[in-house]
């Protein structure tokens, strides 16, 4: 399964559009400012951040933090009032709006598929606007439908209202990827989906991203989703200022201030466990006792902790994928998983110390 998808992806990215896997571009927001006429406070006073090519940057924050506004400034759906935005080093302000937008994938919460067009026609939207020849569009559409695991002939001919919510969302992503854009904007793409399907869609998107390696700006209000999806998380506070911009582990480990600590929640240590796997834990060797059960080495430390607790706190045997015993998952070992990094980081950063003192 994985290898088939992998092949699809490589054919997708090496396809005519001139793109290969490195077609993702770096995105830089430079002193970006957005003021609305008649309002004293700027929606976004001064925002600067850089998203390296091929990484997922999640903009997260409470409502009123300007995260959607910031995203919509990038493809100029909302006009900028100060600063600049550079895509691959080139200012978006130099570009014609329509031309710029055709180069940036765009996915919104309600998807916004065209109800009067079939799934195939919907996915073909941007290639059609770009004037691709018909056979090239057809090839690309089939490729993308396979990439999102939908049957090109069966599902491709349906209209959007004949799809489930999850299928619609996947078609929305496929449509955004159709012309192989170097940047993808996603505004709460899984916000309207029930929790079980949301997790499936999130995993599906991460697997897809693993193959296509786009630069992605992903907006959500859900910190758990941000931690799961982001290579980096930009936490915005009300008033549109950046509270912290860092990889998820760093944000969980040393929140920059009280706002961030509050926002990520009191269970941030547990959330951090969710980012590590048993392979990151120094596991004690087997001690001769009969273990009460096995867990895989690839299991997240958070799930392993739950499993150990469910076993009444008794150790579980950790098995690698090739069936080798790697040691024991014990409460003690899990409890010390962050020992090294935590110390090093709080030494290094005043912010980390502040957070530690609060905790």
């Amino acid at each position: 399964m994985a290898s088939t998808l992998g092949n699809d992806a490589s054919s997708a990215v090496s396809n005519p559009i001139g793109g290969d896997a490195s077609s993702a571009l770096e995105l830089e927001l430079r002193n970006v400012q957005k003021r609305y006429p008649g309002r004293r406070e700027a929606a976004i006073p001064d925002l600067s951040l850089t998203v390296p090519a091929g990484e997922v940057c999640v903009l997260v924050g409470p409502s009123g933090s300007g995260k959607t506004t910031a995203m919509r400034l990038i493809n100029r759906m909302i006009p900028l009032t100060g600063g600049d935005i550079l895509l691959g080093g080139r200012s978006v302000l130099e570009r014609q709006e329509t031309e710029l937008r055709r180069e940036i994938g765009y996915v919104i919460q309600q998807v916004g598929l065209f109800p009067h067009q079939t799934v195939q026609e919907n996915i073909a939207t941007v290639p059609r606007l770009l004037g691709w020849p018909k056979d090239r569009i057809d090839r690309r559409v089939s490729e993308l439908l396979e990439l999102i695991s939908l049957d090109p002939t069966e599902v491709g001919r349906r209209y959007p209202h004949q799809l489930s919510g999850g299928q619609r969302q996947r078609v929305g992503v496929a449509r955004a990827l159709a012309a192989d854009p170097p940047l993808l904007l996603m505004d709460e793409p899984f916000g309207a989906i029930d929790p079980i399907n949301r997790a499936t869609l999130q995993d599906g998107f991460l697997a897809l991203q693993e193959m296509v390696r786009k630069t992605v700006v992903f907006v959500t209000h859900d910190i758990d989703e941000a931690i799961k999806m982001g290579d980096r998380i930009a936490i915005l506070r009300e008033g549109g200022t950046l509270a912290q911009y860092a990889p998820p582990a760093e944000i969980l480990e040393r929140p920059a201030d009280e706002f961030v600590a509050d926002f990520v929640g009191a269970d941030r240590a547990l959330k951090r466990l969710g980012l590590a796997t048993l392979a990151d834990v120094r596991l004690p060797p087997m001690n001769g006792d009969e273990p009460v059960g096995d867990v895989p080495l690839t299991m997240s430390v958070r799930d392993a902790l739950a499993a150990v607790l469910a076993a009444g706190g008794r150790p579980l045997r950790v098995m690698s994928s090739d069936g080798e015993v790697r040691g024991l998952a014990t409460l003690d070992a899990i409890g010390h998983v962050f020992d090294g990094s935590s110390e090093a980081l709080s030494e290094a950063s005043p912010a980390g110390r502040a957070a530690d003192e609060q905790a």
Partner: protein, 248 residues
């Protein structure tokens, strides 16, 4: 039913009810509907009147649609123009039809002509067509417009590829009402221009005794309205396949 009685009441002369050169039995008997009269006058009176009626209606609805589309696109783009347009089209709609036709006769360039008949017919289609086209354009979901714009469609592309196709059901619904009401209204246009099914209807009204002509022309107008409506329903099915499939 009772010719002797009726003739007795009508006076000494046996009236030539249908106005034809020779009289059919059913005409003499003055049945409610005289098929012989109908067959005899079909090719000389009724069929030409029906054809003229179709021309009157098609031109009125086509020109009315063109004008309404222009107004609706303007109102869609510039919201401020919507209220004046609604006021104008509503005003036209409130003018009593007979008065409207007669008023135009007074204009020297028009007089008793084809366009004196057409102008009010066009004017009456505007309100319903304008409102339906605009409602159709306005009802396109905002997220659809947002994604269309976000994918790099120009205003024109959005209008032609997204907004107008999605407004089609509302537009065709407006065309159906406008067409059916114009078929009916066009019979009145015969007072200013000697054309259409209104001619045999008026002549049938004038004929106090023999009603076959009135009934024949009236039924033809109704059948024409039904046929036109069915044609539009079929067109809608053809042009909007997405409204035919069921949701899962």
């Amino acid at each position: 039913m009772n010719p002797p009685l009726l003739i007795g009441a009508g006076g000494p002369v046996i009236p030539n009810f249908g106005g034809s050169s020779h009289q059919f039995a059913c005409e003499k008997a003055n049945r409610l509907f005289c098929w012989d009269w109908f067959n005899h006058n079909w090719s000389t009176t009724l069929w030409p009147a029906l054809r003229q009626h179709v021309v009157l209606v098609v031109i009125a609805v086509a020109l009315g649609f063109a004008v309404s589309m222009g107004l609706a696109l303007l109102a869609h783009r510039y919201r401020r123009t919507e209220q004046p347009m609604i006021a104008f089209t509503s005003f036209l709609y409130t003018i009593p039809s007979l008065a409207f036709f007669e008023l135009l006769v007074g204009i020297p360039a028009l007089g008793l002509s084809f366009w004196t008949a057409e102008i009010p017919l066009i004017a009456y289609t505007l309100l319903i067509l304008f409102r339906n086209i605009l409602a159709g354009l306005r009802n396109v979901p905002t997220e659809v417009l947002d994604s269309a714009r976000g994918m790099g469609m120009s205003r024109r592309q959005m209008l032609l590829q997204v907004e107008l196709p999605l407004a089609l059901p509302a537009i065709i619904a407006g065309l159906r009402i406008a067409t059916v009401s114009t078929v009916a209204l066009a019979t009145i246009a015969a007072v200013v221009d000697n054309q259409g099914l209104g001619v045999p209807i008026i002549s049938g009204i004038d004929n106090y005794y023999f009603k076959t002509e009135l009934i024949a022309a009236g039924v033809l107008a109704v059948l024409l309205a039904i046929a036109a409506d069915s044609l539009l329903v079929g067109t809608k099915r053809l042009l909007t396949p997405w409204t035919r499939t069921r949701a899962v």
